[in-house]
């Protein structure tokens, strides 16, 4: 009897901890700029992206920024960035590493925005660091450069690449929309008005 009561107490404590985690800001934001929106959102939008890919730039600047504002930040969907640097882009992995490093200090959004905005320049010159530095303080820039060399950060990028490979992703950007464990994918850049219609349909009235 005592044993049962103890088990029940443990179960209750576990449930309470789970509830606290789900309602915490950490879970709400995913604890990272790479994932925005509650983990419990009805719809998840996974975006496999390459910072050096021109179509990823178009998608990020013309569509994803608005999806973030209108859906993810309002908690309606969970928007997740996945790195998928393509071998044909020589500086894409370095850019992904720097963005993943910036994520560790809470600057992912600023860095990814700058990387896309100045894509033409660094894709030609290879000076990715300079673009990243331009949106950080000197101290943050130093920290990000150090973090980018950390194997743990490289592992974050590689985990995304491995996941994308397992999902047979061959091009960027690729969007995977999941609702009720059912996923649909769209490859290529899509415009916000059409995506908005589909998201609204998925979310229902």
């Amino acid at each position: 009897m005592v044993k049962h009561a103890r088990s029940a107490r443990f179960a209750l404590a576990g449930l309470a901890l789970a509830f606290i985690f789900i309602s915490s800001p950490l879970a709400q934001s995913g604890g990272s700029g790479r994932a925005v929106g509650p983990i419990t959102a009805k719809v998840t939008m996974d975006v496999y992206s390459d910072f050096q890919c021109p179509h990823c730039k178009i998608l990020a600047e013309q569509t994803l920024n608005r999806v973030m504002e209108d859906y993810a930040l309002k908690g309606r969907i969970r928007l997740v960035h996945h790195d998928f640097p393509l071998p044909m882009h020589p500086y894409a992995r370095q850019a992904a590493l720097l963005a993943a490093a910036a994520d560790k200090i809470g600057k992912f959004h600023q860095v990814s925005e700058a990387l896309f905005k100045q894509q033409d320049a660094w894709a030609a010159s290879g000076k990715v660091d300079e673009v990243v530095d331009s949106v950080l303080t000197p101290a943050e820039a130093k920290q990000v450069r150090q973090l980018a060399k950390d194997p743990a950060v490289a592992a974050v990028v590689q985990r995304d690449v491995d996941l994308g490979t397992r999902l047979n992703i061959t091009s960027t950007p690729t969007i995977i929309l999941t609702k009720d464990l059912k996923s649909n994918r769209v490859a290529g850049s899509v415009s916000y008005p059409i995506l908005k219609r589909y998201l609204d349909q998925l979310l229902g009235p």
Partner: protein
């Protein structure tokens, strides 16, 4: 050749008809907006045209499939099928040449545009051209029951 021609026409009609029906089924069995996203990824059309195409194209494919299988007005239907396949093929070649990594959109979403999808659509276009050529002129008559049994 005179006896072979109706049989080739029947085979091409069945092949193309089945492909159009399957293409329509894959699109109509999912949200039309998902197909709209696929069309939109080609970045060739304005929003209103994307929506019109996404709404009407699967039904056009369904109608072409049914008409090809029924053998009604094969001459005109095969020209329609050739025109639509030529449109798809040219748009796909244009995107593939531009190095755009997008969905083919041929059979719903999720199939990347590749050399394989181009070869498949090219073969279908060639089959539709052959059907239109064989079914040209007024002389084309539908298969008799005996021919049909012989073919099957």
């Amino acid at each position: 050749m005179a006896r072979l021609k109706p049989r080739i026409i029947l085979l091409l009609r069945c092949l193309l008809g089945a492909v159009f029906l399957y293409a329509a089924y894959t699109k109509l069995s999912q949200s039309w907006l998902l197909f709209a996203l696929s069309i939109d990824s080609y970045q060739l059309l304005p929003e209103w045209a994307v929506l019109v195409f996404a709404r009407t194209l699967p039904w056009t494919e369904l109608a072409l499939g049914v008409l090809l299988l029924s053998g009604w007005k094969t001459r005109y239907v095969s020209i329609g099928a050739t025109a639509i396949l030529a449109l798809f093929f040219s748009v796909m070649v244009y995107q593939y040449a531009g190095g755009t990594g997008i969905d083919c959109g041929c059979f719903g979403v999720g199939e990347a545009l590749s050399a394989k999808t181009l070869a498949r659509d090219g073969a279908l276009l060639a089959a539709a051209c052959l059907l239109a050529w064989l079914a040209r002129g007024k002389g084309h008559a539908p298969l008799s029951d005996a021919d049909l049994i012989g073919t099957l």
